[in-house]
């Protein structure tokens, strides 16, 4: 993988922290046609920065951005 395609180190750390903090052990995440993943499996995909890991990172970042920009509050308040 080229260096410019690598995930930002801090972003990766943040997403891994949030994964650990927000998904209990007995829960799994079904991601479309990619499969159903435990927390540990998701960690592995994020560490590898593969397609599944990147989908999860995008999902987290979209949510963080929408929370911090006020977009979620705006939609919930409507």
């Amino acid at each position: 993988m080229k260096e410019e395609n690598k995930l930002d180190k801090d972003i990766k750390k943040l997403v891994l922290y949030r994964l650990d903090a927000t998904i209990p052990l007995h829960f799994k995440l079904s991601i479309g046609n990619k499969g159903v993943f435990t927390k540990e499996e998701l960690k592995g995909h994020i560490e590898k920065e593969d397609e599944i890991g990147r989908i999860f990172v995008d999902m987290q970042l979209e949510f963080i951005k929408a929370s911090s920009s006020g977009k979620i509050s705006e939609i919930l308040a409507k």
Binding site: T22, I23, F27, L29, G32, N33, V36, M59, E62, A66
Partner: protein, 219 residues
């Protein structure tokens, strides 16, 4: 076209297994209101049967519970290989002028745009349709309160269409239920997966898309 509907329900992995059971709630509702439907499950869920039913019964509404991508919607896994039911550029025209709800990821991208025809409507997802599962309930998916947060709002699209709502209204009702579920999560102190559930609901809300004739109605 006829006032009946066709529904596909594969069940060969954890994700399709959950969709299989939750889609049963749509079927139960159809039975309750006396709507004719064609439920394609294994071993009848094949491309041949699917196309034949579209041709012979001409349903105005098609509900997919499936894996998908931006060009395809799949059916069952046959001999270890997922069978493609609809493929852009090959047979997408069989869905022209119908109302389609595809609970399948990325179906609302290029494929959806090309399944509408002149007066059809396509509801799908531009993102991977996602949901959280509480493993303790995986043998009884309908009792899984976490999965319900994501799957009930999507069922609502199908149920609202069966009630005769406009496609856009069915779409909006589903978004509203997702919003309500997010609000509900914020109010509960000890929900184990609050932030993760909100993130996944947000992903589905942002990804859910409606294309074509938003005024289309089932009846």
């Amino acid at each position: 076209m006829n006032n009946n509907f066709l529904i596909t329900r594969p069940n060969y992995d954890d994700a399709t297994g959950y969709l299989f059971y939750y889609a049963k709630e749509v079927i139960d509702y159809a039975k309750k209101i006396g709507v004719e439907f064609f439920d394609l499950v294994r071993p009848k869920l094949t491309k041949t049967n699917f196309i034949s039913l579209l041709d012979k019964k001409d349903p105005v509404l098609v509900l997919f519970n499936a894996h998908g991508d931006d060009k395809r919607i799949y059916g069952d896994k046959i001999k270890d290989k997922e069978e493609v039911l609809i493929e852009e550029g090959k047979n997408n025209s069989v869905l022209f002028d119908r109302i389609v709800y595809a609970r399948a990821c990325y179906s609302g991208l290029s494929l959806g745009e090309n399944c509408i025809g002149k007066k059809g409507c396509f509801i799908g997802y531009r993102t991977p349709f996602s949901f959280l599962i509480d493993e303790r309930w995986s043998a009884k998916p309908l009792n899984d309160k976490t999965a319900k947060l994501f799957l009930e709002p999507s069922n609502l699209i199908a149920i609202s269409l069966l009630k005769g709502n406009r496609a856009e209204d069915a779409f909006d009702k589903s978004l509203n239920m997702m919003k309500k579920n997010m609000m509900k999560l914020m109010k509960v102190e000890k929900e184990p997966c609050t932030m993760a559930s909100m993130m996944v609901l947000w992903n589905n809300m942002q990804g859910q898309t409606i294309l074509g004739n938003k005024n289309a109605k089932f009846k």
